[in-house]
Symmetry: D2
Subunit: 362 residues, 4 copies
């Protein structure tokens, strides 16, 4: 599609008039559509963000170095190191909507209390011993757990052990920054609680499948702050066992998925971020799929390969990769693979912008 | 409110004309509002159904006698004996919307497969060894469990043991009959499965708090057919423990409640029937409350007393009682009480007819 | 389906025991399912209500006689004469859920203020000059208009002319009475207003298609109390004209339908009653259809025929007929027909009980 | 807020290590949170977009010059000149979510057919004679009308007169571009219709307040493509008249507002853009308000002043101004003012990010 509202053959005088017009547009803070329509409104999503993979070993080593050099404190708030998509230079964004970081907390360290309109979660690849206090309710962090801090919930972290711990943080910082929706408040300087219960109060009230506590206050955001690995693991195993027995449950052959949901509404656990755990049986290759919207994945256990648009990467435990919008994705594994995924799907669904294209060949 | 559209002083002639008019109304299949407005539109609900209590011991003895005399089979379908509210003579209704019965299945007996537009559940006071097959998925029935058979789901029961088992059935038969919404189909003559797993397939897919199986087919009705006592008990205990620790969770002091909900929507487990388990701490008396809508309760464990309108009853394990609309209710217990409740609240809520009045004095 | 849990061959002794058992059931206020399963749970809806037609001329004549003999006043509240379905003896119900009546108000008469949890509407076949004051807002009643008085809205009527006026009232009295959801309050003894504006305040705020008044208080029930004939007529004409031009809009060939909806939610105008106006082009016969749920129709203009289950009736302006649940219905007209319909569809939809069967032959 | 995870006093060696760490972060495509937390997560929205006003007279003059020099055609698609917020350099965005432009179509010109996932509307300040064909349905454009082209609806414009016409276009281009949700398809090269009806088919079906066409196909997006000025004007007048009479309706004294809504759902006319018309009575000053989210206004008629954060501008017919997120806004007028507003409020509401602060003093 070449000639766009542009005049085919101009006289010198017309060309001068046109130059003057464009110059006057600029002075008047105006911009013509016809010279940039393709960039503004591409045929299919044409993301600036690029597909990209980060190795956990490198990430963790850098986080460890930061642990020795950079204190955690008020202002910076967290020792978190974010994936900075090279296609989005000058930002610290994994994708246009998602922020993803490794957070590292040394022995006995505390990350101070704050709250914000951004939705956040933590997902734990390894380690334990840190508690996240969410509105004063101490939530243990352990391998395989997903922990939420929904919008405007005070939260703080503290390491109760003599060993460091690292995990990933996911937030909607880019989306909220882009549309100017961010509110942030510092909390008290001292921990709201030093309790270290195995099970938080919100779990005791809400982590009972199909049982709603009638006396619990209603809220717009999820009342459940922790989704434990034992439960996730068991739910994924069940799907694959049912498949073995000939019953439905998996999303496609060899591919089990659970979505973390708000037990008070059955919708996504966070209003702007979808969170899921995927399990691929050994020998499984997922159907190549393109989706409007972006996602970040972390290998939780096992190894395999990912085909990410034109690129192919080997995957090992802890590796993180980014899937920009409308980039074709397929995972495969010889020996079995568990992978955590988070995405901006709820944004696309709530705004009527979802689209998926599943095809065998790209 | 005495004089209603009725003429204060009529001449004999006018009286004759009026008599003729009323007679002509009748012949024309018409009825004046003004002579029956108060009955049709009372100031507050004026139910025909009366408050009533049935003793489990009597019920069970009668069911046992039926077990020896009446076979279970096609046509009658179930050996179920329903609470027949004396205020609704000629019916087998507990309330105008709810049907409640004890069902009894002898050693090795089978209740044949059928499905219907009525929503149904079973709640198990005692015993075990019966499996309900719901659309071919074998669901164990054990003490304290709530088992669903949502509208138009094939179901059948069979006793795999050499001992009889009894439980309660709850359905919306009166409502569905009243508004002429009933459809019923007989199923195959032989059991769909003789499997006796401890955990049904639907539980394996869905009984994971906050974890939605992405590959499971969407449905309007609950995909989870069993709510196990261990989970219910633990959820209720947690509420009372949180109260002890000074945190929210109970609906009022000493009174814990969980509602059984559809994990795919977070709304009531059945679209026309609310199901809940209540736990009263020893020494607790619940606030006297009147609610538009009716309910049936069964004491699951413990003893206490119920104030039901003007009536007061002692309560023992297994006793069933009926609360007609707008009848004041208060429970109390010295030693602690667990009670199962089902009601037509979802009907009232979905139709915009809910009303509750909580007051200390009647 | 003959033999139902009943013992095939009983000894005399067993028969005695069975008799004793049934007798004991009765004493204990219990009823076995197996002897009445078919009645309680029919294969398809088996309504007690029967198809029935009332002639407007007869109705109106009786209402007129009542006008001369029975005053309107507090207690009786309204000079309304209800369709009493012969299949529901002892009631004044048109169907198990719907109440339908002709209301008659003489020159200068007033029907006193009250409010109730029942939802109500009026539909005007002919005449004018009465205003219904809804929460103090005077709503003119004119030919072809639908006027609402949603649940718990104070309302009163007064005839400002020297001629009587009659119209039909529709309410959910049977449903609300049956489930014991009724609350009723008398209002003040004097009219809230004697204003007679052509257009009520609620219309001035809300009767603008696609334009929501941002400053209007939110409410659960419809804020719009009047749907004017000019608008309804124009909407129906448009559908048929579009059909003539080859475009979609009608529900089937020659059959236009508009549903009266709540402009604040786009759902049914009343939460328990669906209201619609149907227009059949001359020569049209509607597809025979059975629906779970009941309805009442009034011919607004034109003539034709209705096939109502086994019965066939000629139709003239003003005639009312009742369609019990699952009764096959088809309308036809040589010269064109407008008909108002109201039904309990919202109840069925909200409770998950809807079912429709459209077939050419019954 | 001073010390943020930064080391208070570093030795030279530590400083070297830190420099090396930051350099290694960069090489690894990582970015620390602690050095940029304030920028990423400000206390309140800190938009890059700035408050700004464009004069209609200047805009129109430039559009007219473009009309003489730049043809309309395939590729560029439209002769639209967008407001380019100086705070968002290098873009053609009015705000981070909204695109606003003047579109100019000369005598007899045609803008070719296309469709896209972006939602769009046109609002007409002056003129007439252009028809927008939306999926083949010809929609007249006249002064004061709002015309929709919801996502993925084919549309094209053509000027049937010998005079040029100009109007404003509003789209969610920035949001859709930012989150990579854009799909775009060219349509046929020739007009789908040359009909010029006064009323489009969608209006004939849907523009009847409270009347839903039962036979119309259900859709996720608004079925009504045109909101006519006569109706908007009348709705606004009614609110002010009701205020005069002492009744509710206005949002605050002297300030009437209608929101354009989807008649099939009662929610915003477009899923990502709110559209409203405001009318200020003479002498009115609106309460200074800050809202999370951005908006664009155009004065439709009258004059007045706007206080936009620190800036104050006189307003005349046609002027456009931009309100970035959390910028305080107040309008005032001596002689009365009508103003059209569009905003990203639906995005904020659907994602749980809404916040408003109304206060007398900034």
């Amino acid at each position: 599609m070449s000639t766009t509202n542009s005049p085919a053959a101009l006289t010198a005088d017309e060309r001068d008039q046109l130059d003057a017009l464009y110059s006057d547009f600029k002075s008047a803070h105006l911009a013509p559509l016809w010279t940039q329509r393709e960039g503004l409104m591409p045929t299919v999503p044409n993301p600036d963000a690029v597909p990209m993979l980060w190795r956990w070993s490198s990430l963790h080593a850098l986080a460890e170095r930061a642990g020795g050099l950079v204190p955690v404190g008020r202002g910076g708030e967290r020792r978190a190191i974010a994936l900075a998509n090279p296609g989005l230079p000058g930002t610290a964004y994994a994708t246009p909507t998602l922020w993803a970081a490794i957070q590292y907390l040394g022995p006995g360290e505390e990350a101070p209390s704050h709250r914000h309109s951004q939705s956040a979660f933590r997902f734990v690849l390894e380690g334990e011993g840190v508690w996240t206090n969410v509105t004063g309710d101490a939530v243990a962090m352990r391998r395989g757990d997903l922990l939420l801090t929904p919008a405007m919930h005070d939260h703080e972290h503290h390491n109760t052990t003599d060993r460091p711990m690292a995990w990933i943080d996911g937030l909607d910082i880019p989306l909220v920054r882009q549309i100017d929706a961010g509110f942030f408040e510092f909390g008290p300087e001292t921990l709201s609680t030093r309790e270290t219960p195995a099970r938080s109060r919100n779990e005791r009230l809400w982590a009972h499948a199909g049982l709603t506590p009638v006396g619990a206050a209603a809220a717009d955001t999820s009342p459940l702050m922790a989704y434990r690995w034992e439960s996730t693991d068991s739910a994924l195993s069940a799907q694959l066992e049912l498949e073995d027995e000939g019953y439905p449950g998996v999303v496609e052959p060899g591919h089990a998925v659970v979505r973390y949901t708000n037990p008070a509404t059955a919708s996504d656990a966070l209003s702007t971020i979808r969170t899921e755990m995927h399990r691929l049986r050994s020998g499984c290759t997922t159907t190549p799929t393109r989706t409007a919207g972006s996602s970040v994945w972390q290998v939780f256990e096992g190894d395999g390969e990912v085909q990410l648009g034109e690129h192919r990467h080997e995957l090992q435990t802890g590796d993180l990769f980014v899937v920009p919008s409308w980039t074709q994705l397929s995972l495969s594994t010889d020996s079995g693979l568990d992978a955590f995924r988070f995405s901006d799907d709820p944004v696309f669904e709530r705004l009527g912008l979802s689209r998926t294209d599943t095809e065998v060949t790209r």
